[in-house]
Subunit: 549 residues, 2 copies
Amino acid sequence: MYPLLSNINSPAELRRLEVTQLPLLCEELRQFVQEKTNTKEGHIRSSLGVTELSVALHYVFSTPEDILVWDVGHQAYIHKILTGRRDLFHTNRQLGGISGFTKREESEYDPFGAGHSSTSVSAIAGFATAAELRQQKRHHIAVIGDGALTAGISFEALNYIGENQLDVIIILNDNDSSIDENRGALAIHKRYESLCKALNIGYYGSIDGHHIESLVQKISELKEAKGPVFLKVNTLKGKGRVIPESNSTVRKDGKSFQQAFGEILIEEAKKEEKLVVISPAMLSGAGLTEFGNTFPERTFDTGITEQHAVTMAAAMAADGFYPLCHLYSTFSQRAVDQIIHDVALQDLPVLFCLDRAGIAGEDGPTHHGAFDISLFDPIPNIAIYSPSGVELFKTTIKTCIEKRELAIIRYVKGWGMKKVKTLEPDIGYRWLKKGKEKVIISTGAIGEEARMAVAGTKYALLDINRIKPFDTTPVLEAFNRYSKIITLEENSFNGGIAQKIKILAQEYDYRGNIYSLYLPDQFIEHGSRASLLKKTGIDIQAIEKLLAS
Amino acid sequence: MYPLLSNINSPAELRRLEVTQLPLLCEELRQFVQEKTNTKEGHIRSSLGVTELSVALHYVFSTPEDILVWDVGHQAYIHKILTGRRDLFHTNRQLGGISGFTKREESEYDPFGAGHSSTSVSAIAGFATAAELRQQKRHHIAVIGDGALTAGISFEALNYIGENQLDVIIILNDNDSSIDENRGALAIHKRYESLCKALNIGYYGSIDGHHIESLVQKISELKEAKGPVFLKVNTLKGKGRVIPESNSTVRKDGKSFQQAFGEILIEEAKKEEKLVVISPAMLSGAGLTEFGNTFPERTFDTGITEQHAVTMAAAMAADGFYPLCHLYSTFSQRAVDQIIHDVALQDLPVLFCLDRAGIAGEDGPTHHGAFDISLFDPIPNIAIYSPSGVELFKTTIKTCIEKRELAIIRYVKGWGMKKVKTLEPDIGYRWLKKGKEKVIISTGAIGEEARMAVAGTKYALLDINRIKPFDTTPVLEAFNRYSKIITLEENSFNGGIAQKIKILAQEYDYRGNIYSLYLPDQFIEHGSRASLLKKTGIDIQAIEKLLAS
């Protein structure tokens, strides 16, 4: 079925082919990657677009001795298939399978892992510098997308490379895309030659990224160049896709956080004209496409620029607006200083909605939102909310907007706790069930596991929404009423509720037992959300075991 | 003494002067700022360089209605003097006095505060966008230095402004300086026109920043321009300085952390050839000038680029080197994602030396290193050290290098605990004094306050060096021996030793009393280190009071 591909177990074998055979190989690769990829896999389009480029690079260079760094590794599927992972490729993104991104542990052909974008140019600068120090001859190539080039770190790195005249080849994969629409003057007007001139980097023109022979020829020429080299390769994202993309999962049992997010914001924006929405390239992932269509003038997609997005939000807040800044939890790590220095220190009203908090599933360790509570709990002036379900999520957003609160709301991708009758509605906490002996205190969507675990038992359930400032009232009540407390959260220990409750227990001399379930102090692999909740020991079985013991 | 200046209490009064009077005013301003500034104040050189520019901007524009944002506000002394703070200027950087940076609370002429560099372009984009939404006519000006332009956030913002054709004026204060030597191809080759072309921003040439009449004329022309405008103003840092800069404080009682740092690294680098040093523009502040002279090929000043510096370090570590990445604690906030995603996740051996941890003194809230333990304690794979004094600091560096440990070492600016006889040398902790009834458990240089407090008493002192992984042994011993524990640290609560000890107390059912001294959950103002330790209640008096109670 794959006459050429089935014989290629390493780039060395690829290099034995004639150039004229490469177009057929590319065809086989496109067929193979689509056949093996789970149809839910949205990321495949990036890899399809760089099929010829991946083949050409491994054909021309002597990987792994030559260093090839792919930016944000989901464009590296073809690279993985060519570098010994063909027969593992069907396990892509599954628990125990290969990663959807480049990963050092996985292969010597992955010198640098990357799940977040825009790191490849810095990384290649590091490798080139290391080789220079060792006086080692080898080639250094970084591939970066035009969308990824909007992030400041890539500019920092190019500026460094231009100064130091490092021998690196930077391939711009220009597929005219960011995650959503492409953003930034550079990507829109494509004046890369001017950028290269400004940064003292040799610009080597623009080439059709789907013409393998030309690619091989051009890249072979560049191999001999001295100093930094920049080549723009024009590709089409999803080129050669024949299997259509499936729609995202639809469930009938209520709305996901992302669905609810778009809806509530449209409602609120109608009432509050000072509400504006800023997103670094994630409007569609956020569920904000419809919002953007309804309020185009109040919707700002800044491209992959978490730092700029947050500081711009701060300035708009300083000037009387109430900006909602939507960030994936894991990408908020890119804007920690801006959140501290530009927003919190100036106590400006900005609402941060941190999406993909907790376990992010198949995207794995680069994408889990395991640290957001930990990172932001120490920062003065910011309230932190972690709503368990969609209704509470909506109430929280509404309340923050009404009060123009400087706050973070963190929530998972997908569905949260089913709608439950609240005994005592409060934005800070809710007793969802009172009971005897034992109580679970949970925060966030993981509370659904707790809700199921206590259903039909005599045990109680307390749902904490506001983590900071933390209301001690319900916890002290729990100390009085229950002899066993189980805490549950989808974040690492620091800053979370387990920690706060244990400290209260110490201060108030609580004599009962406290068991805490939280994410372990280690990076968590990739896999389905359910499998990872189980693996990290924070799912319903773990809770039931604790309740029974 | 200041015939013109003494009559100027606001920019409106400045605007009543004739252009021909402005050179004399500039002379007076230079004289005034030098007269009033504490001679220890190094930052004055930036402000001296923009004397004419500051006058010209307030002369031409109608501040505060027009929005003028100064990047990293220490260049804004002249601006402050012209905007109603002349008579307060002698309190600059003192406790209760005006801030050394722009500050919103201080004046309506400071629309956006900035102690960290490179935020002004993002901020002006936010203000311009806000004005556009309101259909408000006003002018928007950002001033940014050529050094500050090396940071990625400014590129993100320029790219955004170029796309959206915002009506903003960006003034490049080209003083040929970063904090140390200028870095990056852009600043060295000065091809700003090419950069502007790439980013679709109008380049309006280059002008002598010390010729006030030309400045006024040029800026008046730009006022009428449409779309984004970029003007390069050539200035000389420290222009007109007559009072010589004083040397930094010299003390006879032992070495500062910064002095020791340079010395130990030179020693270690002689033995370990894989050790390289990477600093984003802080080599001299770090105490590494001599190191750079001794090992120029192993010293990398990347410019103001914390993100790139860390990712480049990660790649060099992946390639067999042991990079030491020196960051000011407060600026490490700019590289949180790189530390998590590029270094810790890949478990690469990088040594982060976080300088200016804890209270940073006169630089104030933008510069205190109050959050580093909190931010990094939740990150897997990284060890965290907080040595109390120089000897332990050296041992810790040596040990990390020998083991090629992925670690953070955080230390204050200045001096730590005096050399003390250690009862039990251990990299993790040291009993400095055993005793009766009460024990102080401290970490970091603040331990000096504890050492003085217990001297001559029967009380004990335990010094914690390694915060993560945290060794419970000495704490459990303290639980057994002492009925009262006082914890002391120069960081906010989260992740720190107070928290860890309280949780252990809960788990081990310790029945004694624990009192904890740490930085409060609020931003801390500026002032001398001693005055701020007192104010935040973590100095010797606070400890003695607790010991006595």
